[in-house]
Symmetry: D4
Subunit: 217 residues, 8 copies
């Protein structure tokens, strides 16, 4: 019972060879592999190993997100009639946002990325809010003071999930202020742990699945 | 833009008279009043003030949840074609679960309460899991070590929202262990802050609204 | 060397009689008394004692801010050619904002209060931003997730001082998230400790003094 | 007075040569050496040095647990009429579980390992619970949210010792949530510090010794 | 499945009437009631209610431990062939020690109390150590710097359980230093949370049950 | 709207090549580049890249501060009629002080550096205080116990901004004691986060801009 | 072995009657009683009980310090040829300073109190430093940012003991910043816990005893 | 005014060449150099540079303590008629103890080292206590649970200074439990920060100076 959420291979703390082996096994047994927190070496090792093992498989790397997605030629990816918006405050938040986006996409949601809309310049998010309002669920990745999820949840009707990012130094750094800001938000929203883009994207995917199923009724 | 979530009057830190005045004003202007964290005195003051102001209004107290809901005679409560399950580990978690349930109900969801299913005795939750699987969104209130949300999210397909409860003493007490357990969960779930039953119920309500709208399409 | 900042009598932890005695002494020796964190009893005791001691003195109570200002009839309050804006997110932030405003006013600044402009509804602050832009220094009081100081500092040119407020419960509660948010802000601003409205107002007053002196050159 | 618990050589923070020297000395003086937290280099250095020093000694490496056990040919290991179960939630918990198992075994207990029974999939632990019920003392290693010790202590009669594991990131990471979960558990259990597999295994060994002595009476 | 551990009624946070009602119900259904953290009012209410409900029941109050134990006339308390020592550092540690002792006794162990043996005067514990060595399991209650569990575990062979006590003020106060001292101990021991005398006594009771069963084999 | 504060390129976490590319782009588009937290390699890469791209640009490295400032030949730096003093307690505080100084200078303020005046030897600051009194705004960088900002704010009339420095080890280390000391100061001052010299210098620059504008009226 | 330090009766958490009983017992058995943290009621109860029990005993109350010292008529207080200075930053630090002074005096030292010399106005401590230099050991009580111990230890040759005081609110409040400041001090000094005036005074007394003994050789 | 405490060169964070240069300068200007926290490379660089600069100087390395002491041929080290005992719990505490010992020796005290007397085996400290009682001041270095300072302060009359050591992992690790244990100690003692052997030795040296001066009177 995995609720449509693909098992992910966390590359951190494993050697490139180990990651590649796990990925080809997953590809072999499930037709798909999803690797997260992969650096250059790990991603390349996966690409090479997949190339050797199954030349027809597609390999989709997102180096900023640290993800690699592999689909066997005959893998039929789920496709939901539901959309997830993934909003990011700044450049440093792109990795977490990217991880969330990949997972939501693998669950089958249509994913719309809205980047670089931090609240230090309000015009940016106000200019993009109509796009965000199209989504059935919204993930908002933000570090430092983490004000963006509160602002977005004040602007849209869909459920908002905060994804605090481990930026910032000193007291409240490493994403702590951003997480606490989500927990204390004046707007209604829920949160995942610091840098847990995978969980945020998966939860958004579960909402998209529920909406898709309801649309299909 | 309140996303269908009623403005709530937080009774904590206000005098009974202040709470009662805010409640009658809300009743007058919106046809409804929702009071949270009300003790006996506050709840009674609201009931009395509403009785004076509008004899036809209905007053619904839940003393364990600390909530009072008032509807004008002509208030038409929203009614969604979507269900929320609110699961609680033990007796001490009932207040937070109750707050979540009231809010979800006011948003219009059908709410199913499942109480006293803490993981120290697994049979209890296993016996009730089929009921929980009926819901479109699930809130799980648990304090102490807060293991229940992880267990429930391993058993159901719908999105799960943890509502950590401020039970427990010593290190990790006051709900801190339960909140951290939700943030670290091996299952996919999102969380609200300690005792934030209101937020958990409101987010479940937002999911129910999305599902209801999709069903209506 | 008090830099134009009046010595304040902190009422918290003192009996009404003690506060009243300190206030009449201050009035007697400096022509002025400033009491902070006064509850009803303390404020009334000050008013009564001043009435007895010097019938011509003016007594200015702000019960929400918890302040009492007393001026002898012949006291000539400083008057600076400089303005301070004091911005507050919500009702619960009014006490800290009020404390800051009183101090800035006693230093001699023209003070403009802008209330109830929390970021959960962005229209509110956007509607008022032109007023805030008139000021030479800006204090922003906000609790919970404390997003407002960051937003304001992105909208104005003057120096912004965050005054985090001890609202919020659970992890990051009691103003901790708001303080950490100020420390991590993506906008340029400085901060004072949680609930330190006095310090925020005094620092804004020092900036106003510097600007006033420059205007007078 | 070591209560039957072998002195362990903590390899962390020592050079392979230092560890090897300490191990051969221990072998020489006590007929046994127990090395913990050994990486590849340290374990190999021990094996080589022991080979040189005493070709008849047995060397037992457990690379996942990071342990090396050396027995002189004439060393008579203690053998207790008592059993310890060592239960682990996931792969990442195997190192701590392994450390506990080695120590309990060296104290003389019969050790049964039960791996990969995390609570996100309850069937796994329910399938294995009968094996766990055979033991006189139970160690449960779990990181992240650390729910497993609570669940196990609700299923068995023997004393349960939690061994929290330093997995997890963000708030509550590095084993903190798991430790606090053990301290707040709704089931009766005691705990050791994060990653202290040695202590957990030794305490289980002390219980096994007490039971063995009682059986022998 | 309660492992021989009586369900306890935690009086804290309940009214005397509520506690008394729960106690008479427990007496009625199980032949026994165990109340913990009872103040004078709660204990007296229990005694009175039991007197009314069942004049033949015995009521055993320990006001320093905050416990009340009630046995129906025909209740046959368990009696184990195993002993638990409960050691306390100072006067302030007596409540936690007392709670542990009561629970261990109700599980059926023979309990020996050793009080006032804090390490600031080593002669005290050295004088009593032979008594402690008689026990099959040892609970050591200590607050402030919590050095006593480490010292005792260096002196006895039986398993030692630390019960940190919430004494001490300032940094490390409220039992935090004592708990951390147990987690960092140079001797082998396990710990419960601050003030969790109940859990410490119950775990000691589980060990006593295991030893008793082994003796009976 | 950057309030006259130059966008800075934070070198930390970027490769020298990335930093150099960002710097030449900034030079190209704005006539200026400001790099902070640059190590030797990053600073040299910037210098080399600028030399290639625009041989007429000036490159100003401050290796202790970790900053590089690049001005195009035709860049007209702002010049304010206002002064900022940057005071540092010890050698270890020079990097943070230097970062603050560079930013304030780029905003256009006249900057006076006062180094090595820690409070363990009061004569040092007392000897220099007249220089500090010349400034319109004062930044005080100090680590360890962070006493200097409080002492300076007791000696000057201008607004003081504390810049806590991440020196110190053990409890309260990494600048935490210094930051908390600023938050608790008996003198009126505001603070930035640990090591946030950039923010302190920028806020001092904003005050200098306000004073300059007032002088120009 | 009490090293000349009188056993103190901590009044906090005891009823006035209990404190009075302990005090008369101490008077009876040792000729002296020292009560700390006594409020009005406790101090009066001690005075009354001593009056009844031994009309010739002297009772010395210091209400600001919360201490009561009782000497039997024939008690010969120790008198050391050594001096302790007790320095306090502000009014709020007087209680802790007073507790330290009483203990040092009871150990036999000549005690010199230097009050109200906080560093926000350096002239105060500079004016008094010659008096402080007379002492053989120095206790410095300070709360808030706790800068005074560092400043004093930079001005005198004798050993300095910091006594952090639980003033201050928000982050670093309750004496935490002051304690951390002592731990991080740039000057050589040692510290006791927050509000532990008793310990600071006793340690100063031990130094005075060592010096007195050396003088007597 | 350095109170007889030599300026120390902290090698940590400096290159061997920088440390060597600072050391030869100190030797040149004061006839002495004291380097702390030196690794092999730094210590060797100092030895070589001193050899080059002044072939007659003595170089005294203590690699376990990480210290290097250099005296010019004509340097007359201070010699006090007073003794300091430096007590260490275990091997891991030797570095901090060594640092304290070196400083106390350079201040002029006779230093007695007592190693490996941790409380897990009480016989060790009891066997050595008579030596410790000879000292005029005692430093006790201990990590993990840090019980030794409390035990020693219960056994000797001289002032005791705790030097907590950054051993231990998990919650309370890195010396935190040991520091908190010192702050909460049931015995009278003062403390320095974690690993601050220099400060502990210097404070012991100041006491020795006071005693020496008194002996000389
Ligand atoms: N139990 C609750 N938990 C969290 N937020 C609440 C709760 N009750 C009311 N609120 C929110 O808190 C705000 C009420 O604040 P107030 O103006 O103090 O009554 C509103 O925005 C409510 O939606
Ligand atoms: N002093 C105590 N410390 C810890 N747990 C306790 C204590 N007393 C009772 N309990 C447990 O707490 C639960 C009682 O909760 P309640 O239903 O609120 O009475 C039961 O599971 C008891 O076994
Ligand atoms: N030393 C610094 N401290 C704090 N913020 C900085 C620093 N240097 C640059 N910044 C800000 O951090 C952001 C740069 O982020 P990045 O896009 O990663 O270069 C900009 O908003 C800068 O104004
Ligand atoms: N103000 C105080 N601060 C710290 N320790 C104290 C204080 N007063 C008394 N003590 C010590 O605390 C113990 C008193 O504990 P008690 O038996 O509860 O009265 C004795 O060892 C006293 O020496
Ligand atoms: Mg952000
Ligand atoms: Mg629970
Ligand atoms: Mg806010
Ligand atoms: Mg787990
Ligand atoms: Mg103790
Ligand atoms: Mg400093
Ligand atoms: Mg102070
Ligand atoms: Mg130790």
């Amino acid at each position: 019972r995995r609720r449509g959420i693909p098992e992910a291979i966390l590359a951190e703390g494993k050697t490139p060879a180990e990651v590649a082996a796990l990925a080809t096994t997953a590809l072999d047994t499930t037709g798909r592999a999803l690797v997260t927190r992969a650096d250059e070496a790990a991603a390349s090792a996966v690409a090479a190993a997949v190339g050797d093992a199954d030349a027809d498989a597609t390999v989709d790397r997102d180096d900023r997100a640290g993800t690699v997605v592999v689909h066997a030629a005959d893998f039929e990816p789920p496709s939901l009639d539901a959309a997830v918006a993934v909003v990011a405050a700044g450049t440093a938040d792109a990795a977490v946002a990217g991880e969330a986006a990949v997972v939501a996409r693998e669950v089958g949601a249509a994913v719309d990325r809205v980047d670089d809309v931090g609240v230090a310049n309000l015009d940016r998010i106000l200019d993009q809010v109509d796009r965000v309002r199209e989504a059935d669920a919204v993930v908002v990745a933000a570090g430092r003071e983490g004000a963006l999820p509160t602002v977005v949840a004040g602007l849209v009707d869909a459920p908002v999930i905060a994804a605090p990012v481990s930026t910032g130094y000193g007291v409240g750094g490493e994403g702590v202020a951003a997480l606490e800001g989500a927990l204390q938000s004046c707007s209604v929203l829920t949160t995942v742990n610091v840098d847990a883009g995978f969980v945020a994207g998966a939860q958004a995917g579960l909402i998209a699945r529920a909406v898709d199923a309801a649309r299909a009724e």
